[in-house]
Amino acid sequence: MQIILTYLIPILGSTVYMATPLIFAGVGGAFSVRGGVMALGLESMLMCGAFCGVAGSFYTGSTAVGFLCGILGGTLIALLHAILCVRYRVNQVISGVGLNLLATAATTLMMQVIWNNKGSSEMVASVESMIGGPIPILNVQSFNFFVMLAVVALGWVTLFRTRYGLRLRMVGENPKAASAVGLRVHALKYSGVLICGALAGYGGAFLSLDQLNMFVRGMTAGRGYIAVAIVILGRYNPVNIVACALLFGFCDAVQIYLQGQGVPAQLIQMLPYLVTLIVLAVGVKRIQPPAGVGKHETD
């Protein structure tokens, strides 16, 4: 019993904490893919969100402004992605990968310009955690825990119960049909990608402001790609995405705890990526993405 309390509960708390940026990115990704645009640019949206969050907090001293800037950063790069994919019909994989490269390079460049340091930024204001509260698991969380819950709930309701969600899904399934019925296909696709950017941007800001209090070069470390896997495994449904994200968050949390136990660091750090790979191999087979992903209303 002692063991459970000492180890399990902190790990579970840590799980939720580590899963949070993945959940934000995952729900955002669900919106993008449901609208018919692949979400391979999630890494860039997380990265921009993380960077802009720190930059905003640095210049104003306020984490709230930081989070807002994070949303803005993610949305801006999502706008680029949307313009390229929807307006100019760029191959969505290339656009995503290219923007990921751009984000990595640009943020490093900006770090040099602002802080004269390519490795990391300066420390910024921190977000308070809720230690001392009644529920032990929540000890490691901050107010963002509730933001995350709200995002998941709102995300699900929006996609499956609102008029907007129905239209977005229609565009993602069959853009030709949607256009023939009079829907504004471009506008809806853009909206899906922009929402993705906003949410992933917030998730990135969470990564830099809530977890680390600074921006570190390449800090998203492939989380954007893990989020892509989560979106697929979660069948593009916010509720399932949470479950998948928790799995990876668990790996992340376990990895940190095991590092102190004498197992070689590198092999443990591999864990989240290995698990992603295995789950991708074993779990993905029967999942159908929306039929209209990558298609346009005129061909």
Binding site: S95, V97, L101, A105, A281
Partner: protein, 368 residues
């Protein structure tokens, strides 16, 4: 000036319709222009910056050698990405395959087998290619047997490879008495000869060029190359024609991984003469830019690799003289990737630039 532009432009559109070199060059040009704008916004002088890049690459013997040194791995990774693309596979795992190839080369290169020089080098190279090919095959198998998304698989395998190599270099393979994570020095019999005694560029540059020519021949003139192209362009039609899809995809990933492995081989046997942890400043991902610039053509990869080599070598000079960080070149390369895949966007932008027929020069002349 304007009238001649009016006559050239329609012909430009026509050749852009056919894709290929025109798009690549246009994308390069536009990326350079956009990057110049970014530089200006950040407070630097774009003309000074580009001049520094060119002098860096060609201004001295050291610079020229550096340019070739940088171009070599880029040609390999660009070729690896290009080959996989023929099968319609996006091989983002090039970085990981390169590390595995380096590992393979280091394992054989540091072993005293009593072999004469040529054989030892070949054995180490072969080892590197096999390691890279096997690691690439993992992605192929995941795709064929499980239908996995190869992009995500590639990125995951990159990280896994980095950690595996990191673990080995800090543990079992660590050079005796070394504080840095690296292997023993590669035996002289296994080292790739250098072209100039003082600089790091090796004969690998010739191997790279030969590889590009060989791959071009393979794709166009062999049945296997033909089948891979068919699978890449229309999988169902290839299946109906009796072509084995799984075999084509896995072969494509093996070859791609093997080529990527050669980049690692070059680093271990030629440049560093040992396997150093995290030796790659992103050669794998920069290979995507090289492939994009090359318009998916193996021979084009040679030229694209050289151009990116110029950018990288020049960037080091750039950093010395102007203080602009080396990552600036990454920005240019990322933009190239994006613009190459957006011909419609280029046309749109070119129409805007129509107003300034000379481009940057015209704008500069207006200011002067």
């Amino acid at each position: 000036m304007k009238t001649s532009a009016k006559r050239i432009l329609p012909r430009l559109w026509q050749s852009m319709e056919r894709g290929g070199i025109t798009i690549s060059l246009a994308a390069l040009l536009i990326s350079l222009v956009c990057s110049a704008v970014i530089l200006a916004v950040c407070g630097y002088d774009p003309l000074e910056a580009y001049a520094a890049i060119v002098t860096g690459a060609f201004g001295s013997q050291r610079g020229f050698a550096q340019m070739l040194t940088q171009a070599t791995p880029l040609i390999f990774t660009g070729l690896a990405f290009t080959f996989a693309k023929k099968a319609s596979l996006i091989n983002l795992g090039v970085e990981g395959q390169m590390y595995m190839g380096a590992l393979g080369a280091a394992l054989v290169g540091t072993l005293d087998l009593g072999l004469p020089s040529l054989l030892h080098v070949l054995a180490a190279m072969l080892s590197g290619v096999i390691f890279g090919a096997a690691y690439g095959a993992v992605i192929g198998i995941l795709k064929v047997k499980f239908g996995s998304n190869e992009v995500v698989a590639g990125v995951m395998l990159n990280s896994i490879a980095t950690y595996i190599v990191g673990y080995l270099l800090n543990g079992p393979l660590l050079a005796a008495g070394s504080s840095v994570a690296q292997t023993e020095k590669v035996l002289t019999t296994a080292q790739l000869p250098r072209i100039f005694a003082r600089y790091q560029v090796t004969v690998a540059i010739f191997i790279a060029i030969a590889a590009c020519i060989l791959i071009k021949w393979f794709i166009g003139k062999t049945t296997l190359g033909y089948e891979i192209r068919c699978v890449g362009l229309n999988r169902k039609a290839a299946e109906t024609a009796g072509i084995r899809i799984g075999k084509a995809l896995i072969v494509a990933m093996c070859v791609s991984g093997g080529i990527a492995g050669l980049a690692g081989v070059n680093q271990v046997l030629g440049v560093d003469r040992r396997l150093i942890n995290s030796f790659s400043p992103g050669y794998g991902f920069n290979g995507i830019a090289v492939a994009a610039l090359a318009a998916d053509d193996p021979i084009g990869v040679i030229f694209a690799g050289v151009i990116c080599g110029i950018l990288r070598a020049g960037a080091m000079e750039l950093n010395r003289t102007t203080g602009i960080p080396v990552e600036f070149v990454d920005v240019i390369q990322a933009m190239i990737v994006i613009f190459v895949s957006a011909p419609l966007l280029i046309k749109k932008l070119a129409k805007v630039r129509d107003v300034f027929p000379g481009g940057k020069k015209h704008a500069a002349a207006k200011e002067a």
